[in-house]
Amino acid sequence: MKHKQWSYLGALAVFVSQSFLLTANAADYTGGQLSNTNITAAGVVVPDGARLLASQCFQCHGTNGKSTTGIDSLAGESQNEIISEMREMKAKTKVDLMHYQAKAYTDAQIQLIAAYFASVSRGNSSNNNHDD
């Protein structure tokens, strides 16, 4: 069941990235749903709010999830991995800083955040999206 949820989301992200860009441009003129999607540094469209939610991880995990310190990078991690790590941390009574942070997020939010990081390329440029 859980497995199904995230793989559905993964499929959605792929669908979005491959076909929305090419086919759905007309809608955005009207300020419709598309203007509320976000584009990642790798040029992939992710669902509304995913980038903003994921950006709350950047303070520690680096801009776009590309860490510049000993803290883990999240860019390019699989959705599956991020989701299961977050769920694990949520469930644990262990009290590291990140265990508390994980407890703040609903499963739906975690899926959005994971979708975002999975969509970001691992490349080291955190700046002006010239990486494609």
């Binding site: 203007s35 801009t63 800083l97």
Partner: protein
């Protein structure tokens, strides 16, 4: 980015040829929207960076900041016990200017004309904006007799911290350092207790017999009570005296005497952190509409002022009730940047933002503790609310936390200034 996605992105922002969809103000005004950010601290620097990054440089961003170098208050207490040098905590704006194409203007915004959507700078220039973001941090309230040039606060980093370090180095053995803590809300809830600890650490190692007296306006240690109580009563037993409910009434700056609701305290070094309020540009522009009149009420979906349209306030000056701290100032800055880009393209801010806070506190020159929390938008009250399960602290201080403190700080510095 390829052509299709670039075109898509411009359209996403409402910036391409489709004039029918352009917000009215846009069609009439400049083709490229102009956003002015006032103040280059954790809040302002972050929002300027993400406005450029997330608009793919289609929005013009001017950052107005009087100082060439920003000195981080985060980690600045470590200067007091000799574990950091001030220059290690300095950040220039070159990276933001060069890497992200932010126009950095070295000046102070002296006034705002919200009707004409312009700001006046101390250097005589006038700049126009479609959206204005204020991130000026804090200013201190006056206290009778307090001369903040000799009785230092050292609460905005920079020169004052350096000078407080020198004052503390001059304390005679058996001398007394007295710290006055203002009523909450003040910036960095654990910060003053952390300061008491690192000063005690220095005195313990260098000035046997010297004492730390903590005069707290609050009824108890405001955060991480167990950690700081253990530090005061065990690690620094016989050195730290903690006195709650002690409200500073006036100061004899020449004699270094704190006159309080509990009587007079004479010090060799008196360190007064006065009560705070929003940066002066916020208050003098009529944006200080919180019930106390000290902070700017904003819509937490966009950080737009509830008093004046088109002006957003982030960081320590805003009055959402979230802690006044640099990590969460960075968090608010991203919510604001995302919302401003959506508003500029005629759509609505994301309806369910989250923010988070983290503070690491050095307790000695080898140990640290931490405190964290996350906040979620609550549509019923239209406020940011603490997520209770996310609120937690380390169990005491440890050497591994001390190492993690630098990883955390360096990451935050990077996400903000680089």
């Amino acid at each position: 980015m390829n052509d299709i996605s670039r075109r898509q992105f411009l359209k996403t922002l409402g910036l391409s040829l489709g004039a029918a969809a352009l917000p009215i103000s846009f069609a009439k005004a400049a083709v490229r929207p102009r956003v002015i950010v006032v103040g280059g601290g954790f809040a302002g620097a972050t929002t300027a960076k993400y406005l450029r990054l997330w608009s793919n440089n289609t929005v013009d961003v001017t950052l107005v900041e009087p100082n060439a170098v920003y000195y981080s208050p985060i980690l600045s207490n470590l200067i007091l016990n000799g574990q950091k040098q001030l220059n290690q905590l300095g950040f220039k704006y070159d990276t933001l200017a060069q890497k992200y194409g932010i126009t950095v203007t070295r000046s102070t915004v002296s006034s705002i004309n919200s009707a004409s959507r312009t700001v006046n700078l101390a250097n005589g220039k006038t700049l126009g904006y479609e959206r204005l973001i204020l991130a000026p941090g804090i200013q201190f309230k006056a206290i009778n007799g307090l001369d903040s040039n000799t009785i230092l606060h050292a609460w905005q980093s920079g020169d004052q911290v350096q000078r407080l370090r020198q004052q503390i180095q001059m304390i005679p053995s058996s001398g007394t350092y007295v710290l006055s803590i203002p009523k909450a809300p003040y910036r960095c809830p654990p910060g003053p207790y952390e300061r008491a600890c690192v000063v005690a650490d220095y005195l313990k190692r260098n000035k046997p017999g010297a004492k730390v007296v903590v005069l707290d306006s609050n009824p108890d240690i405001t955060v991480e009570r167990d950690t700081f109580n253990a530090a005061f009563t065990r690690t620094y037993a016989g050195i730290v005296e903690y006195v709650p409910n002690t409200i500073l009434q006036s100061v004899d700056s020449a004699k270094k005497v704190a006159v309080t609701s509990f009587g007079d305290y004479r010090a060799d070094v008196l360190n007064v952190i006065p009560p705070h309020q929003a940066g002066s540009i916020v208050l003098k522009s009529g944006l200080g509409n919180s019930s106390s009149g000290d902070w700017a009420n904003v819509n937490p979906l966009s950080y737009e002022s509830t008093a004046i349209q088109g002006i957003h306030i982030i960081g320590d000056s805003q009055g959402t009730g979230q802690p006044k701290a640099g990590h969460i100032a960075n968090a608010e800055a991203k919510v604001c940047a995302d919302a401003v880009l959506r508003l500029l393209s005629g759509s609505q801010p994301f309806a369910a933002p989250m923010t988070n806070s983290a503070c690491y506190s050095p307790i000695s020159s080898t140990t640290a503790s931490w405190l964290t929390a996350a906040f979620a938008y609550d549509p019923a009250s239209q406020t940011m609310q603490l997520v209770p399960a996310s609120y937690g602290a380390s169990s005491g201080a440890s050497t591994s936390n001390y190492k993690k403190m630098f990883e955390w700080a360096n990451s935050l510095f990077g996400d903000t200034f680089a």
